[in-house]
């Protein structure tokens, strides 16, 4: 018989995933026996930019690590610098940060749902979810003036305030999105095809998820109750929320976690709008950062950590980012062996890969 193994390159230009990642899939007939990721297509080396850009300018670079969770990257960076320089951010700014973060989470999860639907071949659902997402993106434009990269965070607070009427509109939007997502939730989670392709596929047990260092929805879908928002950074310390946990650890559980997270995010939006105090939105920053600081922030894809090191000049000495997709890749590679070739896109999407932040 000889060797029946075939190697199939998956990517880098690929119809399902918009981003270039290459996987070399070693197949035995239709079964995947091994997956070897080939990376580096998006590496830009932006962490080294700290040498040429000062710490205030770096906010814009950090924001462009990933365009989908851009605000949260900017916020994480600002939080780490604020911790380094012992800056107390005004309470209103904390709340505004929560509002923009949660808007980003909702839009990111909707985007993911659309791509997932596309991977199943459900074109109409892709269109539907992106239609809902447009409403969220419109709100970002109304509050910040830009659709995806909103550039409202700065060291010491936020750059823009949200007017009271707009805050009320955010509540209206939350209700509207909730209703529309509820409407598709039923048809997604009870669909025969979707169940067939996700239930018991790519199972990661609780121990595995913990050992492999998975993050975000992948970790929570395996039954680990951990969400960096529980630490209470920014305005989360003033709000109530429960992390969403599922126990099955398969693709279906991950889909469910993201669905329920959307509702939690919408709820957080409502709470934040109800509680937001009046006051200043930023404080003046004096001096240069010195020392080292570390911060964890929950992004739509999981936990991001920022480590920054300053040396008393306006340029940082070092910045290091560990992004959630990077943490999820070992889990993803564990899921692959044993699955069929046709399942690979769906498995890839259930970790919600974001290659541009992984490779930076």
């Amino acid at each position: 018989m000889g060797d029946r193994r075939t190697v199939i390159p998956f990517g880098p230009q690929h119809p399902v995933l918009p981003e270039p990642i290459q996987l070399k899939l070693v197949l035995e007939d239709e079964k995947v026996v091994e997956a070897l990721p080939q990376i580096g297509y998006i590496h830009r080396g932006l962490e080294r930019l700290v040498k040429v850009r000062d710490f205030n300018q770096m906010v814009f670079v950090a924001e462009r690590i990933c365009g989908i969770c851009s605000f949260q990257h900017a916020m994480s960076y600002c939080l780490s610098i604020e911790r380094l320089m012992n800056i107390e951010v005004p309470e209103r700014a904390d709340y505004l940060r929560v509002i923009w973060s949660e808007l980003h989470r909702v839009h990111s999860h909707l985007l993911w749902l659309g791509l997932m639907a596309d991977a199943f071949g459900f074109e109409a659902m892709f269109m539907e979810t992106w239609k809902i997402r447009e409403a969220v993106v419109d709100m970002m434009e109304a509050t910040a003036g830009s659709r995806v990269i909103i550039s409202t965070c700065q060291v010491g607070g936020v750059r823009r305030d949200i007017a009271p009427e707009l805050l009320q509109q955010i509540v209206k939007l939350a209700d509207d999105v909730q209703r529309r997502v509820k409407a598709i939730e039923h048809s997604v989670l009870n669909d025969y095809t979707i169940k067939k392709r996700t239930v018991d596929k790519g199972v990661i047990s609780k121990e595995q998820a913990w050992k492999l260092g998975a993050a975000g929805p992948v970790l929570r879908a395996s039954g680990v109750k951990w969400d960096a928002r529980m630490i209470g950074y920014a305005g989360y310390k003033y709000l109530n929320f429960e992390p969403v946990v599922e126990t099955a650890g398969d693709c279906y559980a991950r889909t469910k976690v993201r669905f329920r997270e959307m509702f939690v995010a919408l709820d957080l939006l409502r709470q934040a709008v109800a509680k937001i105090p009046a006051g200043e939105i930023n404080v003046k920053v004096k001096g240069n950062p010195e020392g080292e600081a570390f911060i964890q922030v929950e992004q739509p894809r999981g936990e991001v950590t920022y480590t920054v090191k300053g040396n008393g000049t306006k340029n940082l000495e070092k910045m290091h980012v560990r992004t959630p997709t990077f943490a999820n890749i070992p889990a993803f590679l564990t899921m692959l062996p044993g699955c069929e070739l046709a399942d690979v896109p769906v498995l890839a999407l259930t970790i919600d890969p974001c290659i541009s932040c992984t490779e930076r």
Binding site: P18, P20, I42, H43, C66, F126, M127, E134, E359
Partner: protein, 151 residues
Amino acid sequence: MGLINNSRAKSPWVVHFDCGSCNGCDIEVLACLTPLYDIERFGILNIGNPKHADVLLVTGTVNPRNERVLRNVYEQIPEPKVVVAIGACACTGGVFADCYNVIQGVDKIIPVDVYVPGCAARPEAIIDGVVLGLQKFQEKVEKMNKKAVGN
């Protein structure tokens, strides 16, 4: 010939290649396909196979690693073809221009016909860019025809 040329210019198929973008421009390209912006009304279809495509949309920064892939995708698209560079990154390198692993602009690697500015480029701007690209496309088709008749 008339029929083929007409359908070429009236229904161009686009292929999208993400070099190294931050996703900001990518999601705006995808947003163009969705109901609010709907570029299908211009007859534009998004496909995955470069061999079927007429227009190449490039987003993000080029680097020495993906340069080969970009060139490969470009070469697979049959003539006539149009390249649209989307976003500051694809035009010049954008905020990342000073990074060590970034080539400043797609036009250093392949010829670019239309530049769409913005970070992230707005869907309206992208549509405008593609429509502009179509005019160039028409010119290229006509030029090709002349050549064919000349022979």
